[in-house]
């Protein structure tokens, strides 16, 4: 049975604390209240660079956040860039890419190069699995934390 006073209290709590979602469940009933604010998207967690919900670049944040939700659900992991620079899929302009969709990676597998300040940095997978998708193109400028690959874990 839904307790009205409790609900009211939760609504007051919601408004006072600027919550965006409230779940209320009892044996018979469940109420979800969401309150979207105009000026402020919910803050994203500032977690480590490599994780399922890695922060995505600002300009496409909404789209990519939506994408990553699917990803989390589908059990995929991202490899995110640990630095700012230029993405290179292969060791030389004519060479074969380090990995492509379907490649199997181990934590030590080099998946790409990121050039920063004329230095080419080898980026390792740091996880095990199969490359599901390459998210950036050869020569793309990439930000810190930008997702580069989707990996289906072993």
């Amino acid at each position: 049975m839904l307790d009205i006073r409790k609900l009211k209290e939760l609504v007051r709590l919601m408004v006072a604390n600027d919550l965006t979602e409230l779940d209320l469940r009892d044996s018979e009933e469940q109420v979800t209240l969401r309150r979207h604010r105009l000026n402020h998207a919910p803050p994203l967690d500032a977690g480590p660079a490599l994780e399922a919900e890695a922060p995505s670049p600002r300009d496409t944040a909404a789209a990519r956040t939506a994408a990553s939700a699917t990803i989390a659900a589908s059990g995929l992991t991202k490899i995110a860039s640990p630095m700012v620079g230029t993405f290179y899929a292969a060791a030389s302009p004519d060479g074969a890419p380090f990995v492509t969709a379907g490649s199997v990676v181990e934590p030590d597998t080099v998946v790409c190069l990121v050039e920063a300040m004329k230095i080419f940095n080898e980026i390792k997978a740091e996880c095990s699995g199969t490359v599901e998708k390459v998210l950036v193109k050869n020569g793309d400028a990439i930000e810190f934390g930008e997702p580069l690959f989707l990996i289906r874990p072993k």
Partner: protein, 456 residues
């Protein structure tokens, strides 16, 4: 003029630089940390690049990441703002090596004036007044004790590479001097990577007055008159104004002239501030030179009509100063109050958190430089400055009355800020009469039996 610049900073100064660049038709690229992902100023940049996680040591202080961002965004120049890498000569050098213009002085001029000891030596040559004290770093405690007995106690031990109150110790006697030297040196080593300290006569009861100077790459300099920043708490400025009230025009003129000459001789291009202490007899003693735009630059902009941040960009692009010294005139009086997200009731601890209500003041002579708004969450990783409220009036009396009104209108909730403290200061006789010294705010706060909030 540059076609695109990178802003290696955050918050209000990042927004200030965006505004200046936009008016010059220059595109802006803002780097940001993960904690600043929702920073409202990023909306106004032409491009934004995330460079790392929240700690500034991993983002805003990472030279490699900032340079990488500059390269992928293909910018012509980098504006460092204040703080972070603004006074880092190595960063300026790396920029030069990478053929990116650093918007600020050359590494050489920065090194010359940024190091307090070599700056003292420069000042001596241009007759810019300095405190009696060491010509070189302190080599031994005994030498220091000998020098202190010559110039008389109290003395102050200062880090040669220091700034902002860190690496400083005041000594009223020999024992305090000996312990102060080693403490200041350790602190300076930790903070600036340079443990060199020196000794100066210490003034107990002084005002802080500084001269704003601009130099271009063609050897021209302009002095934009003085500012008073006597209203401080723990060496952090709280209220600044231009011009400094009650200073004899001839003294003002002589000090400003010598300061400008020092900047010119240093081959300095950009904005520089020569800081002084001024005693009751209006004798000036140089403290240090800040080789970057200051937080308090707006008060000078208000009284001279010169856009200092735009000038830093123009100067770096090789343009000459737009005016001759005789064309720079003062109009009226300007005051700035720093709005910090701090709780004055709890020893001014920073107050990060969500701003739900933000009602800014407005009307004639009121300027607000802020990067925050309702719905913004102040991150805990950075400085507590959330805005600068600046007023301009026909004279100091009108400026104070205007500031009182603006502070009355200004509402920020639920976080605590310095607004109530400023409301109180605007009614304090010591402030309104300019009968003050750099310790007056601390004395006021100490003399309270209760907290500030109850008094205002």
């Amino acid at each position: 003029m540059f076609s695109r610049i990178l802003i290696a900073n955050r918050g209000e100064i990042a927004l200030r630089i965006i505004r200046a660049a936009r008016e010059l038709g220059v595109e802006t690229v803002c780097v940001y940390s993960e904690a600043d992902r929702e920073g409202p100023w990023l909306e106004f940049a032409d491009r934004t690049i995330c460079i790392g996680p929240a700690p500034s040591s991993e983002s805003y202080l990472r030279i490699d990441r900032i340079i990488s961002a500059a390269e992928i965004a293909n910018v012509d120049a980098i504006h460092p703002g204040y703080g972070f890498l603004a006074e880092n000569a190595h960063f300026a050098e790396v920029c030069r090596d990478c053929h990116i213009e650093f918007i600020g002085p050359s590494p050489e001029a920065m090194g010359l004036l940024g190091d307090k000891l070599s700056c003292r030596q420069m000042a001596t040559r241009t007759r810019t007044p300095i405190f009696p004290g060491s010509k070189d770093p302190i080599k031994s405690q005994d030498d220091a004790v000998k020098l202190a007995s010559e110039i008389g106690y109290p003395v102050i031990v200062k880090a040669s590479a220091g700034g902002g109150g860190r690496g400083m110790r005041i000594a009223h006697n020999e024992a305090a001097l000996r312990s102060g030297i080693s403490a200041a040196s350790k602190e300076a080593e930790a903070a600036f990577g340079n443990g060199a300290v020196y000794l100066e006569k210490f003034l107990e009861d002084a005002r802080h007055v500084e001269i704003q100077v601009l130099g271009d790459k063609r050897g021209n300099v302009l002095q934009l008159f003085d500012r008073d920043c006597t209203s401080q708490r723990r060496h952090q400025k709280l209220v600044e104004e231009a011009p400094a009230p009650g200073v004899d025009p001839k003294k003002r003129e002589a000090v400003a002239k010598s300061a400008a000459e020092m900047i010119r001789r240093a081959g300095y291009a950009g904005a520089a501030t020569v800081e002084f202490l001024m005693d009751r007899d209006q004798n000036f003693y140089m403290l240090e030179v800040n080789t970057r735009v200051q937080v308090e630059h707006p008060v000078t902009e208000m009284v001279t009509g010169i856009d200092i941040v735009k000038e830093t960009i123009r100067i770096a692009a090789g343009e000459p100063l737009p005016l001759k010294q005789r064309e720079v005139t003062l109009r009226g009086h300007s005051i700035e109050c720093r709005i910090n997200a701090e709780d004055p009731d709890k020893g001014f601890i920073p107050q990060p958190g969500l701003i739900t209500e933000f009602s800014p003041p407005g009307g004639p002579g009121v300027r607000l430089d802020t990067h925050v708004r309702a719905g913004y969450r102040i991150p805990s990783a950075y400085d507590s400055l959330i805005g600068k409220l600046i007023v301009h009036g026909a004279d100091r009396e009108e400026a104070i009355a205007r500031m009182r009104g603006a502070l009355k209108e200004f509402k920020i909730a639920p976080i605590k800020t310095t607004i109530p403290l400023h409301r109180r200061l605007m009614d304090e006789r010591q402030f309104t009469d300019a009968d003050f010294d750099i310790h007056y705010i601390e004395r006021l706060l100490k003399s309270d039996n209760s907290d500030v909030a109850q008094k205002v």
